[in-house]
């Protein structure tokens, strides 16, 4: 019966090609606009580390007086004083302080120009915390952190550039004129949004190419290449910065259980209270512990453009559907005489329902296919609308293809309910008489 109704539907659609084309186009455009903008929204609101997003926590401690805070929230980053104190306390299972630095890599081959890679200074624990896969070797040790050791972990692309992709563990690289021994090379790792440093990256960016110990970077007086916010003059030089209340260091703690998170929160509160007793803070403890998803929300990594365009596109799809309801109504009601004859010859209301819903489904399928093609173009052209770092995240994958077709068919069938109901209400006697 399905095949027969499908055939009937196709024949009916062929009868008014203009009307059919209009419906297919409305659905195609509506679905394509929604799916293209959804692909961006999906990418920007992605959970970058789903297996651990509620075990990793960003730490904030208010080291500024309440008047300097925005909306009472502690600053996005920590001062050096607080970061070092928390590292020393070592209260979480794993923890790391981190900041972006900008050393240049000087290739051994003197004919080559220096290279600049995105570089982070952090602790050896960070690799395990963030589930970073290693290709060769591994992280540096806690003892090396302690010793400010000149060691480094390379990203895949830097290892390709310097060592042609060979196992470089144990070899040395030259950063700003100092040698660092390679302890490991990581595999592809580029979580988007860049949760561990959403503050400085805005959430999206190129993969990190190089990691060095936090303690070493500070010893070398490497300045942050990210934000450095001060509520007072930090004084002269790097030492002034280290002693100041300027905030520039990100801090993450791994707390796998709720109990650990609770006790860490208490520890932070206690730490701030202790600072208050010591006279450094003249305000009540104000600390935050946010897991990955809360942190990304708080940092507002989803660009407002992505939300606005998705909303406008959904409104567009809604209008296309209202349009389709109207056109289907026109189309179905024009066939009232035919329905009358079919009902008179014994077709039940159910049969009329099935026939017209299948016909609508066919329109939806055609609209979906058109929508798929247009979504493809949309994803290709998304670079015209969004910055490259975000635009490249939008991909037409299997799930988006399936969703496009599903939304198109579902929306059309939904839109067909009212016209079909009207069609099924046709009184056979009335139609036969008026003819």
């Amino acid at each position: 019966m399905f095949g027969y109704y499908f055939g009937l539907g196709l024949r009916s659609l062929r009868r008014n090609p203009a009307l059919t084309a209009l419906m297919v186009m409305a659905i195609g455009f509506g679905v394509a606009a929604s799916m293209t903008t959804y692909s961006i929204f999906r990418a920007t609101s992605n959970n970058p580390i789903p297996q651990k997003s509620d075990e990793l926590y960003a730490v904030q401690v208010a080291n500024w007086k309440p008047a300097d805070l925005s909306k009472g929230e502690p600053p996005d980053a920590l001062s050096y004083t607080d970061a070092v104190a928390l590292m020393r306390a070592h209260k979480a299972r794993r923890q790391t302080a981190l900041y972006p630095v900008g050393p240049s890599v000087i290739p051994e081959d003197a004919s080559r120009l220096p290279i600049r890679e995105s570089t982070y200074a952090w602790y050896g624990d960070a690799f395990a915390m963030f589930d970073i896969p290693f290709r060769y070797g591994g992280a540096w040790t806690a003892a090396q952190d302690e010793a400010h050791a000149p060691v480094a972990v390379l990203g895949k692309s830097l290892n390709d550039k310097l060592f042609n992709g060979a196992n470089s563990v144990g070899r040395e690289i030259n950063l700003d004129g100092h040698n660092y021994r390679v302890t490991g090379v990581i595999d592809d790792w580029n979580p988007q949004p860049v949760f561990f440093d959403a503050t400085n990256t805005g959430g999206f960016g190129e993969p990190v190419g190089l990691f060095i110990p936090f303690t070493r970077a500070v010893e070398q007086q490497m300045e942050t290449i990210g934000n450095e916010n001060c509520n007072a003059d930090p004084g002269q030089g790097f030492d002034g910065l280290l002693r100041s209340e300027c905030v520039w260091i990100g801090y993450w703690a791994e707390l796998p259980t709720i109990a650990e998170a609770t006790s860490y929160r208490q520890f932070l509160h206690g730490y701030a209270a202790e600072q208050q007793r010591a006279g450094r803070f003249t305000w009540a403890p104000n600390v935050r512990l946010r897991n990955v998803t809360d942190w990304l929300d708080f940092q507002k990594v989803v660009p407002p453009e992505s939300k606005i365009s998705l909303l406008v596109s959904l409104g567009f799809l809604l209008i296309c559907l209202v349009n389709t309801v109207g056109l289907l109504l026109a189309k179905f009601m024009r066939r009232a005489p035919e329905i009358g004859v079919r009902r008179a010859l014994g077709a039940s209301r159910g049969a009329i329902y099935t026939q017209f819903l299948i016909e609508a489904g066919a329109v939806g399928l055609a609209g979906g296919l058109l929508g798929l093609v247009l979504t493809g173009f949309g994803v290709l052209g998304i670079g015209l609308v969004f910055a490259p770092d975000i635009a490249r995240l939008a991909t037409l994958d299997v799930s988006l293809v399936a969703l496009t077709l599903l939304v198109a068919i579902l929306a059309t069938v939904l839109a067909a309910f009212y016209p079909t109901w009207r069609a099924a209400q046709v009184q056979p006697a009335w139609q036969l008489k008026s003819n």
């Binding site: 900008g102 407002p304 606005i308 109207g326 056109l327």
Partner: protein
């Protein structure tokens, strides 16, 4: 204008179709008004001038390898000498940032050293006596820096300088009435008791490095300080002679590397013409305007097509009645105006609801995103546009209806 009473009576027999067209018009109005407003906001944002002679300017991001302090400063001075000596170059300068670059320094400004809250927020540009000429700024009052006023210092050793050149917007904000020249301002990084800086010059316009919404309330507040940064990083601003920018873009990297190769100029975005800087800064604004524009056009087309479709159906359905009316003496014009009036009535209902929806949607967007409320002229223009669109869309089917011959009345089907 045909009599409205019989039209309303007829519409009551087509409730569903009437409601659908009205609903479509209402939703379209709501979305188009808001989309147009977004376009206007974004376009006016990206049209803002920076104050620079943008067509002739090149920006270079430089980082020395493995040097700090005075060694870096000496190399930077060498670069500046080389750049200023290049054929095709008008002037070159060195700074921590420049308009639309995206990263820079901002401070509060006061005219009273003991004030708790700053009068205005401003950006700080590290400058020398060449900066005004290199950016092509217009000095509106006062004088430029003198070579002996320039000091080289570490970027984090910032302290208030004795002389500053400020943008007109900031001068007028701190000293309303245009009396800022020669007056002191206080630049504070949150520390009390800072030293006064005398305004020695005012430039017509100079934008901040940021293009985001957060900087929109101090977009043109800039202070040029007579400092140059020692150390490893900074940006060169090179002004080419008219017409020689394209050649300069091709050769400048090689020239710099020849001067000293222990440096990194990023492959991507290390050397940009100001046109590229502008494009990069406003990419998402331009994209948003484009997307909203496309959506508006397609939306209006689909709504118009929908009206054509449904009205055609109605005309087809009523051929017999039209024939009867014509046979009873109605002119073609009567039939035409019947359908036009019918559409106008539906459209009026639609835009009435749509205007409310448009305002509601705008208010909701204001609460959710950093947007402002739109002036009601948008709704007014949208209402007129949609009513006109409806009339245009209904014209073809209505003309077809007007051509129905009175003979139709006598045919049975």
């Amino acid at each position: 204008m045909a009599h409205i009473q019989p039209i309303l009576a007829a519409l009551r027999r087509h409730k569903a179709g009437t409601v659908l067209i009205a609903l479509q018009i209402a939703l379209t109005l709501a979305i188009v008004c808001n989309a147009l407003f977004i376009i206007q906001q974004r376009v006016s944002k990206l049209m803002r001038p920076t104050g620079l002679i943008e067509s002739d300017i090149l920006a270079v991001e430089n980082r020395w390898v493995g040097v700090t302090g005075e060694v870096g400063a000496a190399r930077t001075r060498g670069d500046l000498l080389m750049l200023r000596g290049l054929p095709g170059v008008v002037d070159a300068s060195f700074s921590n940032s420049y308009p639309l670059r995206g990263g820079g320094m901002s401070l509060g400004v006061n005219k009273d050293p003991d004030a708790k809250k700053p009068i205005a927020q401003t950006t700080i540009y590290f400058s020398d006596e060449h900066s005004i000429n290199a950016m092509g700024l217009k000095l509106a009052a006062g004088r430029n820096f003198l070579p002996q006023e320039i000091r080289w210092m570490a970027p984090n050793a910032f302290e208030a300088p004795a002389q500053v050149v400020v943008s007109r917007a900031l001068a007028d904000k701190v000293y309303p009435g245009g009396a800022a020249l020669g007056k002191p301002i206080y630049l504070s990084a949150g520390s009390a008791g800072s030293k006064p800086s005398t305004i020695i010059g005012i430039v017509e316009r100079l934008q901040v490095p940021w293009s985001g919404t957060w900087a929109s309330n101090f977009m043109e507040n800039a202070v040029m300080v007579p400092f140059q940064m020692s150390g490893a990083t900074g940006s060169y601003i090179v002004r080419a002679k008219p017409g020689s920018l394209a050649d300069l873009v091709k050769t400048v990297r090689a020239q710099l590397i020849e001067t000293n190769r222990m440096r990194v100029i990023p492959e991507k975005n290390g050397i940009r013409t100001f046109a590229q800087v502008r494009e990069h800064a406003y990419q998402s604004d331009r994209g948003m305007a484009l997307l909203m524009g496309v959506i508006c056009v397609v939306l209006l087309a689909i709504t118009a097509a929908g009206i054509v479709g449904l009205t055609s159906f109605w005309v087809g359905e009523r051929r017999k009645q039209i024939g009867v009316r014509r046979a009873l003496g109605a002119t073609r014009h009567d039939i035409l105006s019947y359908f036009l009036t019918e559409n106008l009535l539906i459209g009026a209902g639609g835009v009435a609801v749509g205007a409310l929806l448009a305002v509601g949607l705008n208010l909701w967007m204001v609460s959710q995103f950093e947007m402002s409320r739109f002036p009601l002229t948008y709704v007014a223009v949208g209402v007129v546009a949609l009513l006109a669109l409806g009339q245009a869309a209904v014209l073809a089917p209505a003309l077809r209806a007007a051509r129905v011959s009175p003979v139709e009345a006598t045919r049975s089907v």
